[in-house]
């Protein structure tokens, strides 16, 4: 059996928490496209930065104030 890496292990704790979070926001009525973008940022790109999450929430065309 191969030893899985911390961040990509099947069902590691952060992944489970993020999955629960995505399920919760889906149930709360958040648009599926936005949920898809957040899922990609958190689970595929592992991008937890403010800019990354802002892009995921508002799309690439987020306005700078």
């Amino acid at each position: 059996m191969d030893s899985p890496t911390k961040s990509t292990a099947v069902g590691d704790v952060p992944t489970q928490v993020f999955e629960k979070f995505l399920e919760a926001i889906t149930a709360a009525g958040v648009a599926p496209e936005m949920v898809g973008r957040i899922r990609k940022a958190l689970l595929e790109d592992h991008d937890f930065t403010e800019d990354g999450l802002e892009s995921a929430i508002f799309g690439e065309g987020v306005a700078d104030d």
Partner: protein
């Protein structure tokens, strides 16, 4: 969830050979320092994950699992350092045997090697909290209540979630600040709308009443319902850019024909002759010095002749011959009258020529106004 039934440890850490039967229950090990208590915990972590966290990671220097996990007598033969564990997977109702040696820590022999079994064991290996060191436990116990969540996050490798939470909180705070500005903007816009419509409270009925009364003045139909695209100005004529005035082809052709006829008439021999005559007379008039004096000089002589009564000039007292002076002035007056007659004659001849030219100008197409 898995339960450990038994473990067999051979040539591992300080243990030569040890078999423990946990019977699937809680198990405690106690004994003096250096008797191998931690070795049992290391063996358990190693067989489940292929790693010993106490011997790897940051700050461990040159210590490695491969060199330091085997018993000191078997450091050159890591294949002999092995651990076999028997576990029961409650969810699958299966009892599984796992064997792993230090020579090949990345691969384990799993019996039965079923896909669902492998999946559960991968899941277990991904849970860092299955093995907590004494230091980690003490740090958690000593943590103040406000910091305990951070310690739990550190134990479970949840720092990623902490980062996400911090980022989301920052985004939420920024949006709250924007919301205050936008709410003020909306409030101002609503107040302006109320004032413009002259209504006290912004309700659909009030808007309809105020807007429809003004629309009625403009003969526009009343608005009965709001949609996403409804405008209170719906139906009002929007002034567009001025369109160039259309020219009727028939009219244009008639104008062109008239202009052509006019030009032909002007170019004719009669007109040319008439122009030549008028020009000659104008030249003759221009050559006469009295012609430029015009009407004012004629009036002057008329008044002057009436003043010639005495034999002395009333201005300079010079003597003059009364009859000779009167005759001289009379001649000048007659000459002026002759000039006036000629001028009127030329003007009379000029009039039809000017009229013909003016007619052509009206038909001609001006370059700035096609």
């Amino acid at each position: 969830m898995i339960r450990i039934n038994s473990i067999v440890i051979e040539e591992f850490r300080g243990i030569r050979k040890l078999t423990l039967d946990f019977k699937g229950k809680n198990f405690a090990i106690c004994g003096p320092n250096g008797t191998g208590k931690s070795g049992v915990v290391d063996a358990l972590e190693f067989v489940l994950t292929g790693n010993i966290s106490r011997l790897s990671g940051e700050g461990r220097g040159e210590i490695s699992v491969k060199q330091h996990a085997p018993h000191v007598d078997k450091q050159n033969d890591p294949a002999k350092a092995r651990v076999i564990v028997s576990v029961t997977i409650a969810s699958l109702k299966k009892t599984v045997s796992i064997e792993r040696n230090v020579k090949s820590p990345g691969s384990a022999t799993i019996i039965p090697n079923d896909a669902d079994v492998v999946e559960v064991l991968r899941h277990v290996a991904g849970r860092p909290e299955i093995m907590l060191s004494r230091r980690e436990l003490i740090r958690y116990v000593l943590a103040t209540p406000g910091k305990r969540d951070e310690e739990v996050q550190a134990l479970l490798h949840l720092d990623q979630i902490g980062d996400v939470r911090t980022s989301l909180q920052k985004i939420a705070n920024a949006l709250k600040r924007q919301l205050v500005v936008l709410e003020a903007s909306v409030k101002g816009a609503l107040e302006n709308l109320n004032r413009a419509l002259g209504i006290g409270q912004l309700t659909k009925e009030n808007i309809f009443t105020a807007a429809n009364s003004k629309r009625a003045l403009l003969n526009l139909p009343a608005i009965a319902e709001f949609t996403a695209t409804t405008s209170l100005k719906d139906g009002m004529a929007v002034p567009g850019p001025a369109k160039p005035q259309a020219i009727l082809k028939k009219q244009a052709m008639a104008d062109i024909q008239a202009a052509r006829e006019g030009l032909e008439a002007i170019a004719g021999s009669e007109t040319t002759k008439a122009v030549a005559v008028v020009l000659a007379e104008l030249k003759a008039l221009a050559a006469d010095p009295l012609a430029a004096a015009g009407v004012s000089r004629e009036n002057f002589y008329t008044i002057g002749i009436s003043l010639i009564e005495a034999e002395i000039c009333p201005f300079c007292d010079t003597k003059w011959d009364l009859d000779a002076l009167r005759t001289k002035v009379q001649k000048k007056l007659e000459h002026l009258k002759e000039l006036s007659r000629k001028r009127k004659d030329v003007e009379k001849k000029l009039l039809p020529l000017c009229t013909a030219e003016k007619g052509i100008s009206e038909y001609a197409i001006h370059p700035d106004n096609p």
